[in-house]
Symmetry: C2
Subunit: 418 residues, 2 copies
């Protein structure tokens, strides 16, 4: 097989299918999702058998345990895949929404209609559940999609693709509206991200390495999610109880998520009063503290932080810590060292809270809340395609809307321009 020809064929088919998807009714899209869910449930044994073969091969090839774990599908996993499809069916259809229709002095009425982006390419690692999830989100948002999963999951992904195609056909939608790439040749990814004539946007779902590689090669826009070096700033007017509770949740609820706090800033006026108890809580939870000289003076167990520490997303039981003069230094520090994902201030001071909200240049900025809330579901989006660390198009948690655009529409009655 010529991989380039193959990918171009998928691209051409997706472009054609995207026309049908753009005008597909909400009922047809939901019917497809429900039919997919039913078929996935009915074919549970088949899916598990395909996955077992994938897992056996991956194990023989020495895939590391954490990845094997993500690759493995259980009966419960199949059920949750089906439920995920059903949940997307319950979400409001973003497509066709008309907003802001306003009369202009010329007599025309101008506003916007929400439309799909067209063709979405999803590139992900060896997690079979992403196949169903990504297919559902692209379908509901009226896009055609091309899905490229990790090669270790190829048999299971192809088995899921059968259900997806059956669901589309049952609803009278083109089967090429969702295409799962059948080749494991790595060159397929390079072609997928370099066909602007056929693909409108790429959404990589996976580790930083994958995303960086794709961003570099892509010739179409990429909705990308890089680091989450999130900060908790304890202001001079912080409520001590809230500070303790928020820091504990932000740092220790889960160590490996992108919205976990990686750095603690404490205002000098309250450092002596608060830092020891904050540190005691962290140390009791097994978190290593790497701090500035002032931190070390107040917290004997703290190691010295290097410049590099302040730039680091640990994804581990480590936190960097710095005593800062005031909210100005906190904002400046964050805008310099943060990855612009999520930051929170703990304060009872109105003016400093509002300044922090306005001046911190991150995708989520919070007052008196845990950074762990930065999440599409917690924000009420109902679904999450990813979290964008870019500013262009979409920023922060991205729901179905991130896969759409708005065109202008005009209602006239024979008006012409003067």
């Amino acid at each position: 097989m010529d991989v380039k020809d193959y990918m171009e064929t998928l691209g051409r088919q997706a472009r054609a299918a995207s026309r049908a998807m753009a005008k597909a009714s909400t009922a047809a899209k939901n019917a497809a999702l429900l039919a997919m869910a039913a078929d996935i449930r009915a074919r549970q044994a088949e899916l598990l058998a395909a996955n077992a073969e994938d897992v056996a091969e991956a194990r023989a090839n020495g895939l590391e345990p954490a990845m094997l774990d993500r690759l493995t599908l259980t009966a419960k996993g199949v059920e949750s895949m089906a439920q995920g499809l059903e949940q997307v069916a319950t979400l409001p259809d973003p497509i066709g929404e008309i907003t802001d229709m306003k009369y202009r002095p010329t007599g025309i009425q101008v506003g916007k209609m929400r439309v799909p982006l067209g063709v979405v390419g999803i590139i992900y690692e060896a997690r079979p559940n992403v196949t169903a999830d990504a297919a559902a989100l692209c379908l509901k948002s009226g896009n055609a999609s091309i899905l490229r999963g990790g090669k270790e999951a190829i048999r299971c992904n192809q088995a899921i693709a059968v259900s997806v195609r059956k669901g589309l056909a049952a609803a009278g939608l083109p089967e090429t509206a969702v295409q799962v790439v059948e080749t494991t040749d790595r060159a397929a990814v390079g072609h997928l991200v370099a066909m602007p004539e056929f693909v409108d946007v790429i959404v990589p779902r996976g580790g930083k390495g994958l995303i960086e590689r794709i961003s570099k090669e892509a010739r179409v826009p990429v909705i990308k999610h890089l680091d989450g070096n999130c900060h908790v700033y304890i202001d001079a007017s912080a409520d001590a109880e809230k500070a303790l509770k928020i820091l504990e949740n932000a740092k220790t609820q889960r160590l490996g998520t992108c919205n976990t706090a990686e750095s603690l800033l404490v205002a000098r006026p309250v450092a002596a009063a608060l830092l020891p108890q904050l540190a005691a809580m962290l140390i009791a939870k097994g978190v290593e503290i790497r701090g500035c000289v002032e931190t070390q003076a107040l917290v004997p167990q703290a190691k010295a932080a290097t410049e590099e520490d302040y730039y680091t997303e640990y994804l581990a039981a480590i936190i960097s810590c710095k005593v800062v003069a005031d909210v100005d230094e906190a904002i400046a520090h964050i805008n310099q060292y943060s990855s612009a994902h999520t930051e929170t201030i703990v304060t009872e001071d109105y003016t400093r809270a509002m300044r922090f909200l306005r001046e911190v240049d991150s995708s989520s900025v919070m007052v008196n809340a845990s950074t762990r809330f930065a999440d599409g579901f917690e924000y009420g989006l109902g679904a999450e395609i990813g979290i964008s660390t870019d500013k262009f198009h979409a920023r922060g948690p991205v729901g179905l809307e991130g896969l759409t655009s708005q065109k202008w529409i005009v209602f006239g009655n024979g008006e012409v321009r003067g």
Copy 2:
């Protein structure tokens, strides 16, 4: 001078200035704009003298008349530049706008705040008025900017830059918030579009050649405006008078604008009745018709259209014409041949109007209105950075909002994630 070093210095300065601009008050931004306008008026003689030198050199170098015309600044041009700055000062400030704050079941209140993109690079041709215009739009939207105009206008652009810097300083804003590139070395453009660490978006303003070149080289997002191959579709239920009026305006009001109609589609049931009079109007206005076989049968003066004609943005007194079966064929034809800029249907039929609006995949889709309305000012945006023919980020006429993004903000009261 090392051009790369020079551009990186501008980039670094712009990135630093963007922090101050993001938090600049509306009052300060407006004060800067008004001070620039006053200074430009006060320095009219200086600006005209600088421009006269540019024009003399360009003439000696054999610049073509149309470009010489655009390069030439008059006293009236200086005044309209000043007025343009004052008008941007009257526009609402998009930055800091908080919307959609909703309580979530967890107790946090989540919504969005509008923020600048950061640093905007503007690349344009030898039109000195763009320098003031682009500086104003970037400033009002809270961005730092780097402006690179055509080399023929270098003296006048530098003279305008003096007023811009004075205006910024008078308002207490960093003078590096707007930087006009001082070198005419073409390599500067290549560097400007390839510094993602310093520049967040590029807006090219100029001909298709410029935009295509920049899009190819850019390593940051580009808000780009390519062809305007716009269609007027006369439906079987069209009101004849509206059809005539709209076609006349769309095709003949101005021949060289991007929202001018370049192709006419007529539904077969009304072709015999309407096409001859539509054609007579066009021919009377000196427009050449290139049509399909049916068009030629009804309009003896029509030449034969080639496949290529239907893809062409003439920007001239020529129109392509095709008789189509119905709204389905019209939509399919447009989605195939159009550049996805602007299309209009003339019809009294509700269902076909709504289908056209939904199914035509262009940045502006209209019912019973002239395509000439596709314009930021006509749409009420108050300003226009450009017209985007992309779907990602911004589509169609782009106002100040196109230079902004939205971050998520959270008001909490000590909430943590469960």
